[in-house]
Symmetry: D2
Subunit: 346 residues, 4 copies
């Protein structure tokens, strides 16, 4: 049994790590931290875990924790995560960071978008970007994983096959993304209170969302040229899920068959990507609570735009599920362990 | 034009007062207070009122405000409201208090349930309980109105005809009430954040909710004996509305006709109570945004229980709409002024 | 009093016509039709209108109806509407058609997208497209109005100022629209049942939605060149509202000031368009139940894309409210009559 | 591997059987029926099951099916189920009937409440009522199980300890139950369309719901006297879950400790019942997608009423999960097989 610790376990991503790892046959959760809830039980904050977790929250004291675990899941705010990640990594631990701190390879870009200096650039250089569909081989055996952001996961899985095939070099890309409210985190804030969100819908952070450079970084690497994107997030009045409607324009003429083949070839061996029949469109509801990414495709012959639509669960494939997938790869477990389940519908 | 001031105008009840009074032909809103939002515009806090309100929030300075208005709507927290109400009342103003501070006639009961001492018992003695269907004549011309709580409004309108007819003297009463989340107020608190409320449903404050003594007070007055009730509130994953399912048991044998007649007779002249045909049941959705109370009736012959179900909008009939109704009565305007609208459906 | 008839009054748009016209001081509703619900009361189908409507549904018998009314609101399915519109128009009545049948000026385009032949092309030539912000002068006194589709209303109001200024001649346009479920109509169909829609989100009719040619027609007229658009509708798990996120790319360099000025100048005298401060983004929730269109603007300097976001209520500004606005213009009533209300929030 | 067949697999309960059994290590699903969807794939009707089910629906031809399976899950409408259950049972199969047809021991009661004659009364006499917390021993090895209704499951688990202890003999019982909309089934019907349900809440079938005699039957058996109940179901605007607020009155004086002890003793060995600390109240959200029943307790000293609140998932513990639990018991598998999972929160 591998001993796991969860740093920052009182938020929604932390709750999902607790849920998923509780059912992992090769992992025992040895501790979970929360500064504000230290001393309280997991079941008090997450009554749905009653019976599956008997842990109490403890404060994050690096030295104490280091002695207790092998693999560290870091679900701390960006900026805060940096140092703790560096510490556990230097202690020889496996570290999977769910924050943004080790995702951007260029510290300057990180500082520009996040307004925080990166103090651990040499450790930064060791991090592998945890998108298994792209970096599977590098992830095997690595000790430091930068788990992708939720929006980048949905956007990239929709664009990876096109990037690799060179289609993005001469096209504009518009990513119109819509996320459930859990993406805003578990917090007491009027802006996410029920009555403000329910029956409402809006865009936010238009042109300025911090996930933008992460998307552009990966597309640029895969395309071999600098790629920029319009990225517009919206807030959906539902708990979970991200639907990304992606426009690539102009697109060299493609047929339904050729575009389907491109995506099927890219993903046919992927356990968590389901490419739908051409013209069939994904729905957030079908991936809720799962590690799946469903992908739909449509070419608009009138406008020469390709529309790619992806659906993921922001807390699973977009956070904690992908983190466990990455751990499975890093530690050599069968990669779908603890992640095989279908959505609960309706 | 009567000059109105709204004390505590940044919450949901305050927002509704702003909305309703903006369309009142005999009222001009001269000011609105909020300590935390002083200096901000109403449109910043309530973008839906853009174009209809150009006011800025100001702090509540009693002397300054007193000079500006004739009628004062008090939408402050209980405990806080007491003193300001007393002040404006003594200045000769009309005062409509939406807090709980002047609802309970007995200061001791107030102190026991609210944990706050009542410092203005002589003013308390002047307050009229603002349920027009019961106290219409007393409300005409009065200067101090204790606007009923949201739950008591729904519960009492369902029980008034029975109380008057003496049916409650020998029966047990169970009020199982379900409220939309706006009833919890506009606040930044994890417990009312979208993801905690959405797709969830629970009871709270079972047997201990502070609206209990208010319901019992009025039922006892009308029944002529001390009445106690089981009152159980629940939290619905929707914005607005209270549905109260009320069980009266055992109930002397009644026929559909007799029970319908009792309610129709009680309410046939009431502009805001709609008694449905026997067996037809109300739905929160049909009263949303309105000052209506819809009432459904069913007698269970197998158990000898009468089930009365009422639906109101907690922020309109249960708060701000009823407050305007009361103002209309107190100041002699046609009583439905600014309150004639149907729900927006769906 | 003008005598109004509503043909097709059992759906959501019909219900909204009943609601809005019930409060119109210069209109009396003389009849409402429904084939399936003939003989039933309006209050049976729309309990929220109880007290405001005492009509019974009747079948649509053109000759009988013609004798009863002056102005005819046609809320019938496309294809079905054609002939009835033609009949009432030839009888000298005012006709406001909420279906798609008289929106497309070119009968061939209509037939291609709707799969129905247009049998009344000479009457078609008389119709004025009922977007008051563009065609106000033509609407005054006209007798045949093609009321715009819900999606086109939101899309066009976001693009009219750009079209007029010539900005659309050399740009690509992506309209990513999200609509509440009432847009699908009031129908018994598993696909719109609660459990399928709730907690879900998906795109539909990508590249093939019938509102596309309507949007392109109007943009082309205003731009003076043929304009094509990518239009992608999505289905939101909420009752009402359309948010349209519109990308115009590439966009000549514009400043926040210049782009704001363009929109303010275009709409400053419009009673139902609210241009928000640059960077402030609209929310469906703020326009629910109203005839407003809120517009937000953001220029992305990194990508040279202009993002315009509009919010409307699909059943009011996108259907019945706009229809009443058009009637007011056609018949010479003050144009905001019966349409002055703010959203009910929350 | 046991071979399972699902008769009536296109509804929500059928979908849940497919989901749960797909992950059962000792079961292979050999077929699934649907008259209307015969020939279609499971993934077409339930895209969330894509990858986990590759079956096609087939019509229900008893002889053909009998040859293919060992255990038959019957998710057909009541009335329809009767004969098919009888057939498979007589063929020596294990039969778990999710309809109401074999729940009421008295055929006359069945006929009175369901309006259908029972044609297989001798088979009826063989059925075991599938509430494991009460009938575990009888369920082991039985071949015919009447799976409880959703409302009865929630109501009975809240009342079983009181019944056994004799508390219900002299008390009145009010069961105010609130169910998610999936309880109405998967159907195309305006009454369950999104816009009718969303933001609404209502009671239905007051005093006449068909689950009433099922609740009374079991409480009477356990209490040793005839018990009647007031049962009032309501429809919640959410997908899943039933919260039952149960009033028992008058209740002999009980202390928090004594009442908690009663429930803990009753359920301490039950794998799927979680008795919460006295005063802690359950929330539907914590049991969604699980086979758990959470129970909260509160004694109202002012009124001498005991309030018991239970939360279940209507499709899992209230239908398909309980059916699999029953199969595990009947066939001798570890009883929690395929049912060990916590809710996905939020």
């Amino acid at each position: 049994m591998v001993k796991a610790l969860i740093c920052g376990g009182s938020g929604y991503a932390g709750g999902e790590l607790l849920r998923i790892l509780s059912h992992h046959p090769h992992v025992s959760i040895e501790g979970v931290t929360s500064e504000r809830s230290a001393g309280k039980s997991v079941a008090a904050l997450f009554p749905h875990l009653r019976k599956y977790s008997h842990l109490l929250y403890e404060p994050l004291i690096p030295e104490t924790l280091a002695a207790k675990g092998d693999v560290f899941f870091m679900a701390l705010p960006h900026g805060t995560s940096q140092q703790a990640v560096d510490f556990f990594y230097r202690q020889g631990k496996w570290v999977i960071d769910l924050s943004a701190d080790y995702r951007l390879r260029d510290a300057g870009t990180y500082e520009r978008w996040y307004g925080v200096r990166h103090e651990h650039t040499s450790t930064l250089g060791q991090a592998v970007y945890g998108l298994p569909e792209v970096y599977r081989e590098s992830l095997k055996g690595t000790r430091l994983i930068a788990n992708p952001g939720c929006y980048p996961t949905g956007a990239l899985l929709g664009l990876v096959p096109l990037s690799r095939a060179g289609f993005l070099r001469h096209s504009s890309i518009f990513i119109d993304a819509k996320s459930g409210t859990s993406g805003a985190g578990r917090k007491g804030d009027i802006s996410v209170s029920f009555c403000e969100i329910n029956e409402g819908f809006k865009a936010y952070s238009v042109g300025t969302h911090r996930h933008t450079p992460e998307i552009e970084q990966e597309l640029s690497v895969l395309s071999g040229v600098k790629v920029v994107v319009d990225f517009t997030p919206h807030l959906l009045p539902l708990d979970r899920g991200i639907l990304s409607t992606i426009y690539v324009h102009p697109m060299a003429d493609v047929s339904p068959e050729s575009i389907s083949a491109l995506y099927r070839d890219a993903y046919e061996k992927e356990p968590f990507v389901r490419v739908l029949e051409y013209g069939v469109l994904p729905n957030i509801k079908n991936v809720r609570g799962t590690n799946f990414c469903d992908i739909g495709l449509k070419f608009n012959e009138r406008t020469h735009s390709l529309i790619v639509i992806t659906a993921i669960d922001n807390l699973v494939k977009g956070a904690s599920g992908q983190a466990v997938h990455n751990m499975n790869l890093a530690l050599g477990f069968p990669e779908t362990t603890a992640l095989e389940n279908s959505a609960v519908f309706p």
